[in-house]
Symmetry: C2
């Protein structure tokens, strides 16, 4: 198993920085990449300003294998992502007939010149298609340009899966315990040393429920992950183990 591919996300939109809208794309992308064995190392949320986006893109794409942007791809004045991607690659936009014809078909008589802006992509970009996803995704070198609307963003995930391919997927286990963090901190430190290939996370819960902390174990080697989780439950008084499962369970419970 080599080093996992690394990724960063650039989430573009003043609406997130002013609290008008809560992001829903980050967890979707994060889970997708985790399942593909790609390590999402950083997320940046920035404003709808070309120079800001260019600086962030330059920094993120030179330090990560893959970069995913979200937002700013519509036809209005605040949709500047394509322009910024082009600028980051020292190029300009050009209209792609394949996209223009999809727009003409979709909008019919309602089509305006401004709609057609959505057919403008950086010179040199490739259009990534998948059977299940009609509108192609723009890829420029290692940068994938994704939409901001959560319902559309989510539909792009099968395309990423198909296009990126799966490395060794990460494996994850979660143990729910009635102990609190102060009582398990030393045990977790020991486990961290004994299982250097496993990332151990400790997440306290709020409220008076039976679960006070969820401890998660992530790694590329399933046996090591299982071993670390088993060593943790073995190290707890048995009445302190509330549940053992995969982290999907933990996530539902905490959300």
């Amino acid at each position: 198993m080599g080093r996992p591919r690394t990724a960063a996300a650039l989430i573009i939109g003043n609406e997130l920085l002013t609290g008008k809208i809560q992001d829903r794309n980050i967890p979707v992308l994060a889970r997708e990449l985790f399942g593909l064995g790609i390590e999402l190392r950083r997320v940046v949320i920035c404003s709808d300003e070309v120079p800001v986006i260019v600086t962030d893109l330059d920094s993120l794409r030179s330090t990560h294998d893959l970069v995913f942007t979200s937002g700013g791809v519509g036809p209005t004045h605040d949709d500047v992502t394509m322009r910024a991607v082009a600028a980051a690659f020292d190029t300009t936009l050009e209209r792609r007939e394949a996209l223009a014809s999809l727009l003409r078909e979709y909008f019919g008589n309602g089509l305006t010149e401004e709609h057609l802006r959505m057919a403008d992509v950086p010179v040199g970009a490739s259009l990534v298609s998948a059977e299940a996803v009609r509108w192609p995704t723009v890829r420029m070198d290692n940068v994938f340009v994704l939409p901001g609307l959560p319902e559309v963003f989510e539909r792009k995930m099968p395309l990423l899966r198909e296009h990126l391919g799966q490395d060794t997927p990460f494996v994850s286990r979660a143990v729910d315990t009635a102990s609190d963090e102060g009582a398990i901190a030393l045990l977790l430190e020991d486990l961290e040393k004994s299982f250097p290939g496993v990332r151990i996370g400790s997440y306290p819960r709020w409220g008076d429920g039976p679960v006070r902390v969820t401890v998660t174990f992530d790694g590329l080697d399933g046996r090591e992950v299982e071993g670390a989780a088993a060593a943790f439950t073995a190290g707890l008084p048995s009445d302190q183990v509330v549940g053992v499962g995969d982290p999907a369970t933990a996530e539902e419970e905490t959300s």
Copy 2:
């Protein structure tokens, strides 16, 4: 009205980057700062690694008036924020008796040596208190260290409000329209030129509801904001205006 104070947030936690947990703190902080007239310009989500956090803190605190961190302040091995803040300021941690005694009181007989780690703060940090919030918040220069647990994070907002004080608050108006983005793009471009002090955002909705786009108008000058929103509704065919209000409404509808 001078330049608004600027802010950045550093959200620390592998659980967000692996999609185990969805962030709920960013919108809370964003709305709070917006109401105080402080401009949140950037959010970074990073992993629980001291060198990563130090690099991010250095970059964010030198380019923004205020920085807020969230996460990594518990007693376990993955809670490294305080250590990173100390390192970013070239200092070390010291135990504060005021915090240790709060911990002793709270945990009673259950107190462990590991719990007491939560009383360790960077040398030179100040403890910011407010009447309504028992546990003080650690402030190091322009960096405020906030907890990751959403229920606790939210409780810190009155403290920030009291401590930071309010500048000229941002004002915001939202107009819901049945038009789609392609049909209003030119109108919005004109308004952007006519109202340079107003930030105009255009947010399409998913699905078949009567509202196809919510357009928001933000600014420090209430009259300008109202003027821009009024000019927008005046520029639309009257049957295309579905609603006019403050963006709290828009947010509920889109979430």
